[in-house]
Amino acid sequence: MHWRLTGDNLFKTLATILAASAAFILLLTAITLFNGSLPVFQRFGFSFFTGTQWQGNVIGSEVFGVLPYLLGTLITSGIALLIGVPISLGIAIFLVEMAPKTLRVAVSFLVELLAAVPSVIYGLWGLFVLRFWVLDLIEKPVSAYLGWIPIFSGTPFGLDVFTAGIILAIMIIPTVSSVTREVIQAVPNSIREGAYSIGATKWEVIRHWVLNYGRSGIFGAVILGLGRAVGETMAVTMVIGNAIGPNAVPTSLFKPGQTMASLIANGYLEASPASLELPAFLAVGFTLLLLGLIINVVAHVMVTRVLKIKGGAVE
């Protein structure tokens, strides 16, 4: 086949270049981050991932460890999923299976509007409003009665890992619920009709057929939400309390912590270019990228192996 300059060929080439650019940008980011953080990995090796200290002021005796922030990211995102996913599923099921049409349009619009709110607004609201609700309605009572359990220990101030998780839960709801809604909507009506015809109740139809049929899509929605929670920076920074070093190890939900994204946002601008501080922040960025990669790979394996869904089952 001889390549000729035709509209079709031109379009094909252009589309290929555009598709490749996404991969290229990811690769470039990974290489830049890795190159920049090389001095840190050479100096600290694997202990960068297990260390808890963050001391960068004395050139020559810097110590950096990412563990507290890695844990902070995982725990806040975990709380976000625990709270956010059931709510999102509820919203999606209600909108597709139960709500009258006018209500469906209005509620979907409002939920999607949540996604359009800038994260700094969530942060401000979290700092000035939500923080006090969480503190007075949840943290103080829980701390008073269950404070003996290690994960609820300490005097709560409302600026901690738990509040950050709740803010993140609110922030992932629009993403998870709208994708889930699309997935549920795509479940063919014949499935529902078949289920009803053998005498299933509404709950049984949703539980056993609709959700089951759409599980890979719903799982994808959850991963999208997780991605947003892991990378969210501004809102988290404003409510997580921003502890640093060993003090940031999230031993209790009611203790100030820090995520990888918020650590970078907090410290990167003033990091001295002459010390190992700048490479250390790049190394945190690289770790974050790595975490994103691991999450996606695990998700892929879960979808294909554990849930045993073949490509093209839904969509």
Partner: protein, 369 residues
């Protein structure tokens, strides 16, 4: 189709020609060559520099100055990469940083002070603190407001039996650099503990971190029995309760523009390095003077002594830069008090004059006015 292309071509030509003509007309209204200077760095002096730059536009309409507050670290990186004409930094260059930006001059352009703000119900004013007590609070050694160490220096206030909530900056900042510099100076324990000492961020053993002055102020105002540190301009503008701090003369001094300037004036009279020398050991903390506030620091503009190291530098640009710097340390200072910045005392201005006069382009001195 033919006519559409023609119309598009005509529109394009009009836009391009019009743009070029307009640019030429607008950029040099009085026929002199338009010059644009760029700087980046510390965010602390941004309100003052913005105001100065706007005002300078009325003095020299052909000079356009642009300053981006990207943080001191970013400013130093930009100076090193020579992508800016000058940089701003809250901290003097460390020795290692002087090596990557050789022959950079330090020009203190305004003064920063850090206040210790608190929120104790029923104690709106009058709290007295010493450096050692502040260091102990931020290290978690003093945990109650009615600790004997605090109560002893506050005989006329009934302090509550309540845990102290500590608030600190979470972002790397010049404010933290000044504050931890002061703590290192007054408490050997603070200075020697690994991870503490002086820095734009330190490994805080306790407390809640807020982003920016507003973040710390938000924590203090929203949390009873809290204490934190906030830059002077911010706490003055927001009427925060601030502690009077004991200075070396033995007086408890409240932070204000006057007590800040007195501190700098007192320290500068003891001598400051030349502009091209190392300033890494310079601090204005714990300055002498009856009413000198102890937590005070310079913020600097950094500029290369020989400007031809910057790619694209021209004689007219170099001249414009020198004249702008000269104006900043002289007439520009009058803008400071209205924005709650302390103006430079005369003896610091004199040191700056010598530094600015030493700037050269291709070995030639440049006119300052």
């Amino acid at each position: 189709m033919e006519t559409t292309s023609k119309i598009i071509a005509i529109v394009l030509i009009v836009v391009i020609v019009g743009g070029v003509v307009g640019y030429i007309l607008l950029s040099s209204p009085d026929g002199t060559e338009a010059v644009s200077l760029s700087g980046s760095g510390a965010t602390f002096p941004v309100p003052l520099l913005d105001s100065m730059i706007t005002e300078y536009g009325t003095v020299k309409s052909n000079v356009l100055v642009n300053y981006e507050g990207i943080g001191s670290g970013g400013g130093i990186s930009a100076l090193q990469a020579k992508t800016v004409d000058f940089a701003g930094s809250d901290a003097p260059l460390k020795e290692a940083e002087r090596e990557i930006a050789p022959n950079a001059l330090h020009i203190p352009e305004t003064i920063g002070a850090v206040t210790v703000a608190y929120n104790i119900p029923d104690v709106a004013t009058g709290l007295h603190l010493t450096g050692q007590v502040i260091a102990d609070i931020f290290q978690g050694k003093i945990t109650k407001w009615n600790d004997v160490g605090i109560q002893d220096i506050n005989q006329d206030i009934m302090l509550p039996d309540h845990d102290i909530v500590v608030a600190h900056r979470s972002d790397g900042s010049g404010t933290t650099f000044i504050f931890t510099g002061y703590l290192s100076k007054v408490s050997s324990d603070w200075a020697q503990t690994a991870g503490l000492g002086q820095g734009k961020t330190v490994e805080w053993p306790i407390g809640l971190g807020g982003n920016g002055n507003s973040g710390v102020a938000g924590i203090i105002q929203g949390t009873e029995y809290s204490i934190g540190y906030v830059e002077l301009a911010y706490s003055l503008e927001n009427d925060m309760s601030v502690a009077a701090i004991k200075n070396p003369a033995g007086n408890f001094v409240s932070p204000s523009l006057e007590t800040t300037t007195e501190a700098v004036s007192g320290k500068a009279s003891q001598g400051l390095p030349a502009g091209d020398a190392s300033w890494s050991a310079v601090d204005v903390l714990n300055a002498p003077g009856e009413q000198a506030y102890p937590i005070v620091s310079f913020t600097y503009l950094l500029v290369y002594k020989e400007l031809n190291v910057i790619p694209g530098m021209t004689q007219s640009k170099a001249t414009a830069l020198v004249q702008f710097l000269w104006w900043v340390v002289h007439d520009g200072q009058q803008l400071a008090p209205a924005l709650e910045y302390a103006p430079l005392p005369d003896n610091v201005v004199q040191i700056n004059e010598a530094s600015i006069q030493s700037i050269t382009f291709n070995g030639q001195q440049l006119p300052t006015s």
